[in-house]
Every structure is written in C-alpha cells, then in structure tokens.
Point group: C2
Chain length 277, copies 2
Amino acid sequence: MTFKGKLLSAAAANKSWLCIGLDPDPAKMPSTLSRDIGGIEIFLKSIIDSTSDLVCAYKPNSAFFEIYGGPGIELLKRVIEYIPDNIPVILDAKRADIGNTSRMYARAAFDYLGADAITVNPYLGHDSLKPFLDYADKGIIILCVTSNPSSADFQKQTLGKNPADHIMLYEKVASLACQWNANNNVGLVVGATSPAELAAVRKLVGDEIPILIPGVGAQGGELQNALSAGSNGAGKLAIINVSRSVIYASSRDDYGAKARESAQLLIEQIRAVLSSK
Amino acid sequence: MTFKGKLLSAAAANKSWLCIGLDPDPAKMPSTLSRDIGGIEIFLKSIIDSTSDLVCAYKPNSAFFEIYGGPGIELLKRVIEYIPDNIPVILDAKRADIGNTSRMYARAAFDYLGADAITVNPYLGHDSLKPFLDYADKGIIILCVTSNPSSADFQKQTLGKNPADHIMLYEKVASLACQWNANNNVGLVVGATSPAELAAVRKLVGDEIPILIPGVGAQGGELQNALSAGSNGAGKLAIINVSRSVIYASSRDDYGAKARESAQLLIEQIRAVLSSK
C-alpha cells in the first residue's frame, strides 16, 4: 500500500490525526531505564505498545539514533520493524543532496530501514528530491515552514523582482511541490507555530497533499488552530506531530500509561475540532 | 587544532587545495574487490594511502555509508579514524533540523564519528545551525550554491521587496553566514558549475572564509575558473573537491596508483593557477 493510503487507513481506523515523534533523548529518559541502546529499545517499544491504536503515524527522528553510531541505526531499524504494519512510519531525516547522492539516502531510508515516508529539505531544488519522489509508494514530505523561530531567516523572505509576482520562499516551495507530485506522494511540513502560513499553504496546495505539522505544545489553542488551518475540506491530511509532551509524560515506571493518557487527551481535542469542521 | 588551522597546515604541507570525496558507490567499485563493507574498506584505505600527501582534506559523504545501515556507519567511523591526523575530514552530510535535534546531529558527526567539519543546509535558519556553530574548533560548511542543475530553483531566486534591496537567496545565505562566524569556523559550499556566483560569494565574504567547491569535472577550464574565482587574495581557502574522477580512475587492481595519478594531475593544475595569481 502507498504511504498515503496507509496514512488514510490508519487515521480512519484509529479516528486520529495524531503522529507521535519517537525522539529518544538520553537526557529525558525515564529514570528506571538504562540510558543506552537497551534502555531506549525497551522505552520506545513500550511507547509504541501503549499508543499504536491512537495514532495515524509514528515519526522517529534519525538524529536521536545517529548519536549512538552504527548500533543506533540498527536500533532505528528494529524500532521501525516493531511498529505495527498498518501504521505508517515517517523517517524524520530532512535529507537532500545532489541526485546521485540523494539516491543513496532514499535507498537507506526505504530499502534498508523500511520507512514509509521521509522528510526532505528543498534547498537544492527538484533534481535533489527526484530520487526520493521516484519511490512512488513512499511519502516524500518536503520542509516548507519549519516550527523553529529562525524559520523566518529564509523561508519567510519575499521573492520576485516585480511586486505583482511577490511570493514568500515557502510559498514557492509549496507551489513547486505541487508540480513535483506526479506520483501523488508529496507532503509538506508546516509548523503549528505559523498558523497563518499553514492556512495559506493548505489553500495553495488544495485537498490532496498531507501536511505534517510539528510544534504543537501542551496548549489546546495551538492544536485547534493548526488542525483547522491544516486539514483539508474533509477534515483530513493534517498530521499533528507531538513528541516530547507524549513520550516524556512521565519520568517514572508509568511512562507507557502516561504517554497513552497524553495521547488520548490530544486525540479527544483533535476529534472535537474535526467534528465541528 | 581547529578545522581551519588544520586545513591551512595540510594545504601548506602538501602544496594542495585538492579535497578528495570518499563516496564508495557499490556500482563503481573496482571489479577485483567485493562489493560489501569489507571490499569498500580495503578500497577506501588504499585510496587514502595513495593520496594523503596530495590533499588538503578528505570528504566522505554520509549517504554512501548509510545504505549499509549500522555497519556502514561503523565503516565510516573507521575510515575517518584511518585518515592521517594532519588531514582534516569534512563529513558531507548536509544536515540541519530544529535546534534540539541539530544538537544530536552535531554530536553524531563530531563526538561519535570524529569529523573535523560538516556540511549543513541553511533552509531552517540560524537556530538550526547554532548547535553546530557552537563547536568552535569544528568547521561548519553551509550550502550556498550547490553544483546540481536545480540549484536555480530556490538558491538563485531574487529576494527583496524593493529593487534597491534585491539580492539572490544564495547571497543572503552568504551574508548571514558571515554574521554567524563569531567562532571563525564558518565555510560555504559553492559549486564550480556556477563560476560567476562563486566570484560573487568570495567578494561578499572576504578573505577569511573557506569555500568548498564541488562539481569540478575532468575539464581543466572549470578547475581554473573555480580556483581563480574561489580562492582569496592570498590564493588560499578554495577547497577543490573531486570525487568520482579520482577514486574511480581505474576499475582494476591499479585503482590506488591511478587515483594518485589523477590527483597529481589535478594538483599540478591547481599549483599552476595559484602560482600565477
């Protein structure tokens, strides 16, 4: 099944647009677990066991595994394998390089690690993303507006020599992403910290493109704005990613149960917003 | 020693601004070697043995190791360790993420793998690069103008609402990179395929910032233009990267000797250009 098909099925089955970010920060691990590969494996598998009926996707971030070198990458592979087959896995890796090299990154993410989707960086342009896009069954989720404060440095700069043509860089990314969507496998990243830009991007790309939305904190307000602005006309395809506030909901032995409680609170909020849409 | 100090020392000792890209493409390996981790390790160590007195740096590209998963990352670590201490290692990884996550990428590159420098992608802005920049002894080489055809998609777009303020996106990257250079550890990537932009960037950033220049083919003309445009007033800090044409100079048993011959031809050309500058 394609990434998008799997995403829509999981969202329908679990009545959820919540994606849980699997970012095993050694400094934040529950105190009852060892802060090594073994402890992290127990931790992440417990989080998955406790939440896999509540999510539309999981999003492990490669960086948090890379700090452990080769054994960390093998752990990442095992975690991806452990996630139930009906839940898509978005590898958050923000990769891109010249075409020949991007082909290797795509092989690593899809053929070796077995991810269903990957996040990629648009700065190098179309030919740097094509080797990813050519994997028609995989999701290629392009950074558009990121959730960090410095996203304004470049992404929110105005482009265009003539005032009539003025658009922001992130709008140019969104617009080209639509042109690169021949395989119906493109997605975009737009942070919940930029709700106006999120609404603009959803309007620009129409109803078919999934938008991955990081940056939602504990605040329900942000979540509501993000969902309203990011979902399509049918209240779908706004993937709300939450990492730390769910997986580190408790630093004690009850981390699995507390992660589940946090996730349940979030999907109740998500359902309330979407049912009123 | 800092990356920049090591780079200047190696360039002076070897009278060379040649950097060899270590991109072990399994499809291009010498036919006498096995196309697995073991074969690649023999191959890359032979290339290093044959060329380490001819280069100012080596640049392994992470993607070509990531296709082998965890064992590939361990191979990358061994290759970096094998490179003589006096030659700086630039990890070509084109990383960047939000701050918290970039910190993990920096740890992976510098603390785990032991690289002296890393290439990073500017799209997420300053706070995404700060965790790298905070490693004062390491080189942080920011993508500016890449060597692929699609670099025009975004990098060569004109920014600025008022005609008087018009600059290209890559110029904005170069200009902010100078502001981010408090630790004197910033570099830029500008492809040899964009000689006019390379000259513009060198003029903009002054004499202190190293420019890593990929995209030089077998053609001496491109090399000459790249060196003239990219080096500073003292004929330094233009790092000419060549990968495939050196490391795959022969597909037979003599690959080490042929790589050396190719590298020697290149540094003779480099010395000729720089001595006339």
